[in-house]
């Protein structure tokens, strides 16, 4: 994925707001927006406001992911799509590669531990591994398996705060996996939307 293609895909993506507390919701919105564009199903483009409302979002970082998933499944069900969540041990790198290779899957959203921000050259205070997670979208893993391309909903805020000019959208895969393993939410937590297998068979 070159820079131009990356920019084309993320055009219209939203970013974290004032409280930096809704990265999961922002990632879900963006992932659905992209899926909507790829499939041509307009109903998948659910606004950020609608997502927040369905998740009962309130600051700081409070939302019901379970309620949101039920809401989205109701929208996507008639089209044969469903939300999927997996974590360790069911979630593996191979599974991540599978999701990325299928056009009927959305971009996967993964949860990474706090130290992920070290990959963005951030200074962390305190540096302990307290419970807090961050969500990013995986957009591509290069064929050599060395590099991963991500969308980080905090990119704008991080850049703005420090005159940072070289935000790392491409990162070494092993390092990202290390932080994925340390997700507090659940190690190797991953969420995506996928067309159900039986639905795909019917189409064939």
């Amino acid at each position: 994925m070159n820079d131009r293609e990356y920019s084309r895909i993320v055009t219209g993506f939203t970013y974290d707001g004032r409280y930096l507390d809704d990265c999961f919701l922002v990632c879900i919105h963006n992932s659905l927006r992209n899926l909507s564009q790829r499939t041509g199903i307009g109903d998948f483009e659910v606004s950020q406001k609608e997502i927040r409302s369905a998740a009962h979002y309130k600051p700081v970082g409070y939302y019901n992911l379970d309620a949101l998933i039920r809401y989205l499944d109701n929208i996507m069900g008639p089209y044969g799509y469903k939300s999927r969540i997996k974590s360790k041990p069911d979630m593996t790198l191979d599974e991540l590669l599978r999701i990325l290779s299928i056009s009927n899957c959305s971009f996967p959203i993964i949860s990474v531990g706090w130290n992920y921000f070290l990959l963005q050259n951030a200074r962390l205070k305190p540096d302990s591994n307290d419970p807090i997670d961050h969500a990013i979208i995986v957009m591509e893993i290069d064929p050599t398996g060395q590099e991963i391309t991500i969308f980080d909903p905090m990119e704008k805020q991080l850049c703005k705060s420090s005159n940072m000019s070289d935000f790392h959208r491409r990162l070494p895969l092993p390092k990202v996996i290390k932080h994925w393993e340390r997700s507090v939410f659940s190690p190797r937590w991953c969420m995506w939307f996928e067309k159900r297998a039986e639905q795909r068979l019917l189409e064939v």
Binding site: R18, Y19, L20, D21, F24, H56, Y57, K58, P59, V60, G61, Y62, Y63, N64, L65, D66, A67, S111, W114, F117, Q120, N121, A122, R123, L124, K125, P126, D130, P131, I132, D133, A135, Q157, L158, C159, K160, S161, S162, N163, M164, S165, D166, V184, F185, S186
Partner: protein, 311 residues
């Protein structure tokens, strides 16, 4: 809306993990168990906390964002009740816990304001506008100093005798005046500093008045000219304290911090003028390039914050 989830009965460790998973999926991924009150076999109570991130900006820092992770322990509790073959997990409403969290965050900012007043009251009174705001108090203290005894009728406040009575009552509450036979005389605090003379005496008194009653002066007397200076200094010292070092800010960054803390977007020229006054009062250092806190004040402020957290 409150809700109840049901989870299978397993080992105590399984219960901890199950509760953690419930709160993270139903209330927010950054919630965590901050304390477990050991109940009997039929009940358990978990105290729940929440973490959140803040980006700290520094005008001089380039290419390295700083993220601060903040924890608030024991914001709300989750009750676990054993049923026939399952545990019922009683979750509070998101609306309720969000309000409780925002209140705790605001309390931190308020604690910081208090620490600033404690450590910088003698500097605040050197700001001309603050000194003007305190002039009715000076008038009363000057009158009682020369006349030994005064009444509300002796104080001609432009807003009337009711306002004058309020000032007299306030000064009595903080022991600068004492009521005697329907009149007011010097209180213990006034007497304590009366060996000082002239401007020095009034500076000490004004600083003590500010220290004792900033909230009161601001809220009760509507002395709103004090507020912008307090907020600006807190918008600088609060994030610097969290960062653990004096941040270098420019006017735009300070304005952003104030917006974050108080939700108000100030006129930049007005802000620059107020910063200038605060530099002269030694609330900010005389740095030409950046808005920088005074090193001595910052050290004292950090001590006061630490003391208030352990109190």
């Amino acid at each position: 809306m409150e809700s109840t989830l049901r989870i299978p009965i397993g080992s105590p460790e399984d219960l901890d993990s199950a509760v953690e998973y419930c709160i993270r999926t139903h209330l927010g991924p950054s919630t965590y168990i901050s304390k477990k009150s050991v109940g009997d076999t039929e009940r358990a109570l978990y105290e729940i906390g929440n973490s959140y991130l803040e980006i700290i900006s520094d005008a001089e820092t380039t290419n390295r964002p700083t993220l601060i992770k903040k924890r608030i322990d024991n914001i709300f509790s989750v009750d676990i009740v054993k049923e026939k073959d399952r545990y019922a997990v009683l979750l509070p409403s998101i609306d309720t816990i969000s309000k409780a969290t925002l209140m705790r965050i605001n309390e931190r900012a308020a604690k910081s304001e208090t620490a600033l007043i404690e450590t910088a009251h003698d500097r605040f009174i050197k700001i001309p506008m603050v000194s003007i705001a305190l002039s009715p108090i000076f008038q009363i203290l000057e009158a009682v100093d020369s006349e030994e005894t005064i009444s509300a009728a002796d104080i001609h406040h432009r807003k009337g005798s009711a306002k004058a009575q309020k000032y007299l009552d306030f000064l009595s509450q903080i022991d600068f005046l004492k009521r005697e036979n329907g009149h007011f005389v010097k209180g213990d605090m006034f007497k304590r500093y009366s060996k000082s003379t002239g401007d020095e005496l009034y500076n000490i008194i004004a600083a003590r008045v500010l220290e004792a009653g900033f909230e009161y002066l601001q809220g009760y007397f509507h002395l709103t000219m004090l507020t912008p200076y307090m907020r600006l200094s807190n918008s600088y010292y609060y994030p610097s304290g969290e960062f653990g070092n004096r941040l270098k800010m420019d006017a735009i960054l300070l304005r952003d911090y104030e917006k974050r803390l108080y939700g108000r977007f100030r006129n930049i020229n007005q802000l620059r003028a107020q910063v200038g006054q605060m530099r002269r009062a030694k609330i900010f250092a005389k740095d030409r390039k950046y808005i920088l806190g005074d090193s001595e004040l910052f050290a004292n402020y950090c001590k006061a914050i630490k003391a208030s957290c352990t109190a």
